[in-house]
Amino acid sequence: MKMYEILSKRKLNHDITWLVIYAPMVARKAKPGQFIILLTDEYGERIPLTMAGHNSEEGTIDLIYATVGRTTMLMDQMGEGDTFFSIVGPLGKPTHMEGLKRVCVVGGGTGNALAYPIAAGMHNHGIQVDMISGFKNKDLVILEEEFTANTDRTFVVTDDGSYKEKAFTTDKLKSLLAEGNEYDEIIAVGPPIMMKLICQIAQEAGIPCVASLTAYMIDGTGMCGGCRASIGGEDKFVCVDGPEFDGTLVDWDELIQRNSYYREQEAHDREHVCRLTGGVRYYD
């Protein structure tokens, strides 16, 4: 096996892909909630992805990514047997599990990919897990089997009702709370606007709420400050202090703004990938 080789690649839906990669240095120490930073090739961008799982004995890690821009489009062009140029990790603090007995994990859209290792990790740790997994519509539903197998209860909801229950994740959380379910903690992973609302609901119910933040990153070790976010009025670096934070302390509006900084350049880059190269630079 070559270092950082793709051992298996599986499409979960039109936009989301599951990779298993040989990265023994990372797998050896990986814990739920931690992420890696990868480079497709020498010319690439360093992008962070959460580890969806790992196998220390086999030396493999799992990544689930959504195709949203240039780097992830380039990843779509790579297949089994291809290798990444660089993968560094595990980075970030692992998911906090100490003292928790019962939790509710809420995943929205692609956020479900990031929520999966958290929910499964907590479940394997002996914590009782209710999972709310929300999607826009039926075509986008991912990981249902995996969630069902690795949590106590999984509730799949869709915005338009084209699959399972018609509800937003926020509605579902409210109804679970109204039914009298009690949680030690609620974990929100998804679009910032969803996380903001989930945290509000949790706060009103007096339940601690943890949100997993995404931010632009370069090094992932605290060197660039590009990933900084205001948490309770203090600047924190998502890569080393996070990625999970007390959701009630997050300045959501600022976070939403900061994540849009490179949008124009990225849109341009994306077009560039499609138009010029038909997808890839080259791979030996």
């Binding site: 990372v26 595990p90 370069i218 900084y261 350049q265």
Partner: protein, 461 residues
């Protein structure tokens, strides 16, 4: 025959209005002829104060006299006995505060261009003997781990491999070189020079493991369990500081480390790389060190029309190397001395539109001996900019201290060491910025050498 001209031989350079649009090296280096003429300015005075000004005591009069005699390779070999990175130090050392600051010729005119001569000797060697086969060193069977591939780590690894140790260097980034690669720009220090140093170490048998964040991928204690008998920590001081003023998280504010990494490490200036970068047109760089100069000069090269340096003291106190300031001014950077930012202002979408500053004046000297800047009341004004680069210093990264059992810090928050670079834990050594906080390449390199000697002594017992 001594050359009595009072000025240094001028350094051939790219013209300011040409070079501020490219990333090629600014200073092109002396020819043999220029080097000999410059070397002949040295008086060979008996006390050689220059050597005492050098943190690693390079035998300056000796190597300079070899250059004067045209024995360039010998000159290089003399430098190499105490300095592992002459091609780097000749380019980036703050010579005016070190060797050249003590040069007797500097009393009446300009000092001997020691840095330029050091660079000349190193470049001459690379051009004429650069591709000589390097013999792998004979192993003595002892394994040592070096953490961080900056100047401290590289010099420590170099000295150890020469003594026969099996050295493995662990580096968290995907490239080796530390600040020399991610911070200092190509136009000041071509990356090929750093790559050549690393290649030479590899040829001698040093192993490099990139993508390895010690403390996360593997801990110091695990390295020792895995069979490394000694560990050197040279992880630098890379955590950027911010001013904690309003508006610092607006879109268009970043640290100099981020800006420089995007450009130098991730090559945002080359079209074949994917790295996005803030393409500001009016950029304010806050700070007055080498890092600020590098950010400002990069900003100009990335196409910004107006680039300002905002520094709260006066031209007299500015800490950057004299040559960098001189070059920055020539390239059209606008220096705003005695000016301090109070907030960054933005539009309704969160994009930076300006930086509000206040004028300063200098009061009584403070603890550092420099005159303390004091705000002038009601002197606030807004400088219109679309990008702000904060370059007000870096702090120490706590990762290694937090993840290594019982490793003690010093009072500055760095890793605590004694005079032989040994920490409180037997077998664990540290040096460079990780110990002192942000300092210089030559000091980091010197610390790596001290640690190599300490490790050798420890393992020879």
């Amino acid at each position: 025959m001594i050359n009595l001209v009072n000025e240094k031989n001028p350094m051939p350079e790219q013209k300011p209005d040409v070079r501020n649009k490219n990333f090629l090296e600014v200073a092109e280096g002396y020819t043999e002829d220029m080097a000999v003429r410059e070397a002949l300015r040295c008086l060979q005075c008996r006390k050689h104060p220059c050597t005492s000004g050098c943190p690693v005591s390079v035998r300056i009069p000796e190597f300079v006299s070899k250059i004067a005699e045209g024995e360039f390779e010998e000159a290089y070999q003399i430098i190499k006995t105490t300095n592992s990175l002459p091609a780097v130090c000749g380019r980036v050392c703050p010579q005016e505060n070190q060797c050249e600051g003590k040069c007797v010729r500097g009393v009446k005119g300009e000092p001997v261009g020691i840095g330029r001569l050091e660079r000349f000797a190193a470049d001459w060697h690379a051009a004429n003997f650069g591709d000589e086969e390097i013999e792998p060193a004979q192993s003595n069977g002892h394994k040592v781990a070096v953490i961080g591939a900056g100047p401290a780590g590289l010099s420590c690894a170099g000295d150890l491999v020469n003594k026969g140790y099996e050295v493995t260097v662990f580096e968290s980034l995907h490239k080796t070189g530390g600040v020399l690669v991610y911070g200092i720009p190509e136009f000041r220090l071509p990356k090929a020079i750093v790559a050549a140093e690393v290649k030479a170490l590899e040829a001698k048998g040093v192993k490099f493991v990139t993508d390895a964040v010690v403390g996360r991928s593997v801990t110091v204690d695990e390295l020792m369990e895995d069979g490394f008998e000694s560990v050197f920590i040279g992880t630098g001081a890379g955590l950027p500081s911010f001013m904690k003023i309003p508006g610092e998280n607006l879109l268009g504010v970043c640290s100099a480390n981020e800006y420089l990494s995007r450009i130098n490490l991730m090559k945002a200036y080359l079209p074949e790389y994917d790295t996005p970068i803030m393409h500001g047109n009016k950029i304010a760089v806050v700070g007055g060190g080498n890092v600020a100069m590098d950010a400002a000069r990069c900003a100009k090269r990335m196409g910004a029309e107006d680039v300002y340096i905002i520094y709260r003291r006066s031209a007299e106190e500015i800490p950057a190397r004299a040559e960098e300031i001189h070059h920055a001014v020539e390239e059209g950077i606008d220096f705003r001395y005695l000016t301090n930012p109070v907030q960054v202002v933005g539009d309704e979408n969160g994009y930076v539109t300006g930086i509000e500053c206040v004028k300063m004046e200098l009061g009584e000297p403070d603890a550092s001996g420099r005159r303390r800047p004091i705000e002038i009341k009601d002197s606030n004004f807004i400088l219109e900019v679309d990008t702000v680069i904060m370059s007000i210093g870096t702090k120490l990264n706590k990762l290694i201290l937090e993840t290594t059992e019982n490793l003690e810090a010093n009072d500055r928050g760095g890793i605590g060491v004694d005079g032989k670079a040994a920490t409180n834990r037997p077998g664990i050594f540290a040096g460079g910025d990780a110990v002192t906080g942000a300092a210089t390449v030559i000091k980091a390199m010197g610390a790596g050498k001290v640690a190599a000697a300490g490790i050798d002594e420890f393992l020879s017992k």
